[in-house]
């Protein structure tokens, strides 16, 4: 049996990044993810890597672009307001077809907001966040162990598809300590013939660029990218289910909200209410198929979110509005209690809105 160690979520994801072959980290201090930078500052110099505290989030993401252009695994981490600042660079990563991992340990917003956990950056993450048509691969861990496995997956799929990945965590997952297994097995790597490694006067120069002034050309670039996105939507959606076989009510929740929901489901089951859960692990691509299938079996859905109701729109789209979807939410750094969710389940069981 593999060895387990107790780690904070932020430190676990940092260690996972190193295990995945990332040797370049750029960041700017922001709560509640500072442990990532602190961990990297300690570790990177010892293993020949780069830790650099950039002058701003904007500079950090552009340093990421530099390393990604050179074809090496690279990451940055931040929290909500910092991700807004990085969004320009994330759009450039997508436009230049560059792989990189961006970690968002979300806090309450908008504006400076607060420093407690939130999931209110769901739209920003799943719709891209910056300008133009693009997506990120968005991974939503709900345990410290998943902070590890999804960080590795984030690097692998980013390289595979030449696009940025985002690990969308929250303040709770970043700060909580849990036992994790760091034996992650073989990490997949990919050839990068497009990378800027110097021509050595042996090949044509490589250009990393997102500028296409001819509209016909830019249109084709967008079409091609979205064709790839279609393939990703068909093959890479990840989700987990809990007690869905006989469920009349389906909770949809990710991250920390899914953990509380699980407790509420157990409590509801003890009272004889048949409720289960579909937990999206990738938020983009969103697991539309299992939700649509569930829509033919359950009476209603409940979206449990730490936002004013963002994922709920994707649920309604995924199930083609076949069944009612109610919202159970807390925001601003508050987390729904088991009782909050249990009450929503009971209302749904009576056929009313949560």
């Amino acid at each position: 049996m593999a060895n387990k160690v107790i780690m904070k979520g932020n430190e676990a994801l940092a260690e996972a990044a190193i295990l995945a072959g990332c040797r370049h980290y750029f960041g700017y201090p922001i709560t509640p993810q500072t442990e990532v930078a602190a961990y990297m500052a300690k570790k990177m110099p010892k293993i020949g890597g780069t830790f650099l505290q950039a002058e701003s989030e904007i500079a950090a993401i552009n340093m990421v672009i530099g390393v990604a252009s050179a074809g090496k695994r690279v990451m940055t981490s931040s929290s909500s307001p910092g991700i807004s600042l990085k969004s320009e660079g994330i759009s450039y990563l997508a436009g230049c077809d560059l792989p990189a991992l961006i970690v968002n340990v979300q806090r309450g917003g908008p504006g400076l907001g607060g420093i407690q956990p939130s999931q209110a950056d769901y739209f920003q993450a799943t719709r891209g966040g910056g300008h133009g048509d693009y997506h990120l691969l968005v991974f939503a861990p709900s345990t410290v162990q998943e902070m590890v496995t999804l960080t590795v997956k984030g690097f692998e799929l980013a390289d595979k598809y030449r696009m940025p990945s985002m690990l969308l965590a929250d303040g709770t997952l970043g700060q909580m300590m849990e036992p994790v297994v760091l034996d992650i097995g073989e990490v997949k790597t990919y050839e990068k013939p497009w990378a800027l490694t110097g021509t050595e006067l042996k090949r044509e120069h490589n250009i990393v660029n997102s500028l296409f002034l001819q509209p016909e050309e830019l249109e084709q670039v967008n079409f091609a990218r979205y064709k790839m996105y279609e393939e990703i939507e068909a093959t890479e959606a990840m989700y987990d289910t809990y007690l869905m076989d006989d469920a009349d009510i389906c909770i949809v929740a990710f991250g920390i909200a899914a953990r509380v929901s699980k407790n509420a489901i157990d409590a509801a089951r003890a009272e004889g209410i048949k409720v289960g859960m579909i937990r999206p692990i990738t938020l983009w691509p969103f697991p539309k198929k299992p939700l649509l299938e569930a829509a033919d079996k359950v009476n209603s859905f409940i979206s449990v979110e730490l936002s004013m109701g963002q994922m709920i729109e994707d649920i309604e789209l995924a199930i083609r509005c076949k069944k009612p979807v109610s919202l159970c939410n807390r925001v601003g750094g508050m987390i729904p209690t088991t009782e909050d969710i249990l009450n929503s389940i009971k209302k749904a069981a009576k056929g009313g809105n949560a």
């Binding site: 780069t50 002058e55 552009n62 252009s69 074809g71 800027l196 250009i207 990393v208």
Partner: protein
């Protein structure tokens, strides 16, 4: 016998620059430096946003196109990814001295081992002639139609003077490309800025005073005269910092 030819590092395609623009000269000087130092094959250039946005097509080395002002940060990433590579940015004054001031100052403060070619023509050319951070007091532009009023919009940013106050920066020089003598000096400075990087000497920035006949609304020869008589007196040429000058003597 060939006495004058296109440098190998300069692509054999037409440049898009306006007649009389000095970007072409500066491109050539950079390419000559890469040729003479034999480093084209391991050089990676960072193009800016501005008139020289297409620099990624014009240099034969590997190139990346950065967001507006962010070239020094992108260059930092490239250099940290592989310190054996030679990394340079090519940036205009709007890019480097306005939106990218933060990245410029901090790359210099870190003494990042990169080379920056900073082309200062005192105007935003690509967007149609707006006031730049380096436009001279009184200069008429599209967004300072009554002349740059220092009471309301302040004074030009003198980049090499400002950076010379930082302990980090290694080599800062201001040159111009308005006549043969100055072009020869510019070449020397640019080559030295690359040589410094090869020798691990750290941050080098060459500010090149450049002409924009189109948006200065002057014919090319008059634009070069303005450079000589009006611009250079405000932005004096010379070495503003050379951390290694003494040991070379």
């Amino acid at each position: 016998m060939v006495v004058f030819d296109r440098p190998h590092a300069l692509a054999d395609i037409p440049l898009h620059y306006c007649p009389g623009c000095t970007h072409g000269i500066i491109h050539r000087l950079v390419a000559e430096a890469l040729d003479e130092l034999g480093i084209e094959g391991k050089t990676i250039g960072v193009a800016p946003v501005g008139c020289s946005v297409f620099a990624y097509n014009y240099f034969n080395c590997d190139m990346v196109e950065a967001a507006h002002g962010r070239a020094p940060a992108v260059a930092t990433g490239l250099k940290r990814a592989d310190s054996d590579k030679i990394v340079f940015t090519y940036q205009g004054d709007g890019d480097l001295a306005s939106i990218g001031t933060c990245e410029t100052v901090h790359a210099a403060a870190r003494n990042e081992n990169i080379t920056i070619i900073f082309v200062n023509n005192g105007i935003y050319g690509m967007t149609g002639g707006q006031m730049a951070p380096t436009s001279l007091p009184g200069q008429v532009t599209q967004t300072s139609p009554y002349g740059r009023d220092t009471q309301t919009v302040g004074y030009p940013v003198k980049v090499v003077e400002m950076l010379s106050q930082l302990d980090g920066a290694s080599y800062l020089e201001r040159v111009a490309v308005n006549n043969v003598k100055n072009i020869r000096n510019a070449k020397k400075a640019i080559k030295k800025a690359f040589q410094n990087q090869m020798e691990g000497k750290g941050f080098s920035l060459i500010e090149v005073l450049s002409a924009c006949p189109t948006y200065w609304a002057l014919e090319p020869t008059k634009a070069l005269e303005r450079l000589e008589n009006t611009v250079i007196p405000y932005y004096p040429l010379g070495v503003y910092k050379d951390r290694f000058a003494k040991e070379e003597e």
